[in-house]
Symmetry: C2
Subunit: 343 residues, 2 copies
């Protein structure tokens, strides 16, 4: 199938760039040194390619992602790097499950939900989840007293991921990891889980790196000197042309917009509507032309789409379902049943 | 079921506000005077509530929305208010189908795809689709020469939807509609389709208004003096609390972000991550608390979610599937089959 046979907008993944990225990271952080984060792609087929390269332990951001990975046979060692107040769906999984905890309430939830292993999540500078470093030991004791195995700590230096100057990034990571290592001394366990695509090469304290964006790469990372290539674009089709602008069929509902407008090579993007992108091209544009739209933020872009088309040139060589989207239990779960009864 | 039993983040729709909005619009624009736009909610269950109030003709933005409406028995008169280059899926529908055309290529696509009826889409000031007003008559002739029935014209004065001053909005609408009425004289047909929630009461030229947002209401419209009430919120749960901020489980992938950050009453939102919202609350917040997050833009927010929960107070009284999402044919279509073979 040619890409021109696809219903637009369609997610395209360049097979060669994807392979390059996966191979490059597998060489830098082999096996369990990398715990790929599936939130970046929400796709078990892509996760399977990561597993084929030796990474069998994965990071997830939602319970739904954990369930989907377990169902796909990728449940050797799944970390939910996020806090939850109801862990029953996690406790029911046929997989090795570890969940982040950063409070007594989340420890109680893990124990009550039947989860057996936890990491203590430590705030290392990003104002998000994570306990104060000096509180980590107390929480670890608490978790053990509730019968939980404490595998170690995690901490995400997300505030440094896009720091442009390498020296500043290195200094920042060292400061953040000093907090995490101190917490780890109080907590114990084998694991220090941290890092991301922007810091994978300079975070030397972590026993495992949670990078995800490296597989498809975000345009936001392109300013950093990273060895990964942009692999993702959206195929759109020009549906209307005026003297000063053109319109293609890829809008707000096909694009994560929190980082701003997408880009089109050789054109200036004016604005996006629900199903349209209005742009001014440098060259001639005709109704029916195909254009490539580069989203400003990959993760929330993919969460809108049902599948990605793996391409070699203009040929679609594989189709990956983006099957980890949403938050409810997958089809067949209780809430699905309710929805159907109400129709 | 109580809302506190829901997996968060969850879309909540206030039943009383929804009913008020639907009733208020049905009184203002009864029956076919309103052609509700389903892109605002992407939900056949909600469209059925609009149909129960007398609006049997609908507006869609995508082929997928058209297919879903037809399959739900809501195909009396469906308008795709958008241009397409491949109309075969439309021509195959068991429904009355009209599609917008604004060029020779889109007329050819409609004819080749087996669509029988069109509206000529006219640019009335928004730089998006639509032909120049003076070209509308020529395109209508062209469409008729290809055997298509030309029902009239459409034009969307979207650049005026959020114009705060009523007098300015009225003057702008009058100017835009003068262009559309002039084009209509050249085109002929019964239909002048235009308007939206921001102009439904002041657009006196249109024979039918394409409003959609009125049903759930966008916060962006709240500055206008409209008689509709905000009906939509996202239920999130506080998963982590620090001395100066708190974090709830509703992030970028649950929110349309093109209009900026969402809001939380009684709190200042700091930022959103993929699955988190970090905020500073005026009052005390505890881990496990439920909070209501108000998205800055409803349409792209709903496109992330599988269903909306209709609530009366804290009781979930109905569940509507958001079943018109995406662009591919619904399950069972050809592309779905391919994806499955590739797994």
């Amino acid at each position: 199938m040619k890409i021109t046979d696809l219903q637009t907008p369609a997610v395209l993944v360049d097979a060669a760039a994807l392979d390059h990225n996966l191979d490059t990271m597998a060489a830098a952080l082999p096996g369990a040194r990398l715990r790929p984060h599936v939130k970046a792609h929400k796709c078990t087929a892509l996760a399977a390619r990561q597993a084929e390269r030796g990474h069998r332990h994965f990071t997830c951001a939602t319970i739904r992602e954990m369930e989907g990975m377990a169902a796909a046979g990728l449940g050797d060692d799944l970390l939910l790097a996020n806090e939850v107040l109801d862990a029953r769906r996690l406790g029911a999984l046929d997989a090795r499950v570890t969940v982040a905890v950063d409070s007594e309430a989340t420890i109680e939830a893990a124990a009550a939900g039947g989860v057996r292993e936890v990491l203590v999540d430590v705030n290392v500078g990003l104002p998000r989840c994570g306990c104060a470093p000096e509180d980590a030991g107390r929480l670890a004791d608490r978790a053990r007293s509730r019968g939980l195995e404490v595998r170690g700590v995690m901490g995400y230096e997300g505030h440094l991921m896009l720091q442009g100057e390498v020296a500043d990034r290195e200094r920042g990571v060292a400061e953040s990891m000093a907090k995490l290592v101190a917490a780890h001394r109080d907590v114990g366990g084998e694991v220090i889980s941290a890092g991301g695509t922007g810091t994978y090469a300079i975070n030397r304290a972590a026993t495992e790196i949670q990078a995800g964006s490296y597989a498809l790469m975000d345009t936001a990372y392109s300013a950093l000197e990273l060895p990964f290539r942009p692999a993702l674009s959206l195929l759109a089709r020009v549906i209307s042309v005026s003297p000063s602008f053109a319109v293609a069929d890829c809008g707000l509902k096909a694009l994560g917009m929190d980082h701003g407008n997408p880009t089109i090579d050789g054109a200036k993007v004016w604005f996006c509507s629900d199903e349209h992108i209005t742009f001014a091209a440098e060259g001639a544009v005709q109704v029916g032309d195909f254009v490539r739209v580069l989203p400003a933020h990959v993760d929330p872009t993919l969460a809108y789409h049902e599948r990605m088309h793996v391409v070699a040139g203009d040929e679609v060589i594989d189709v990956f379902e983006i099957d980890l989207r949403g938050w409810q239990a997958a089809e067949g779960g209780a809430q699905r049943g309710e929805a159907e009864r109400s129709r």
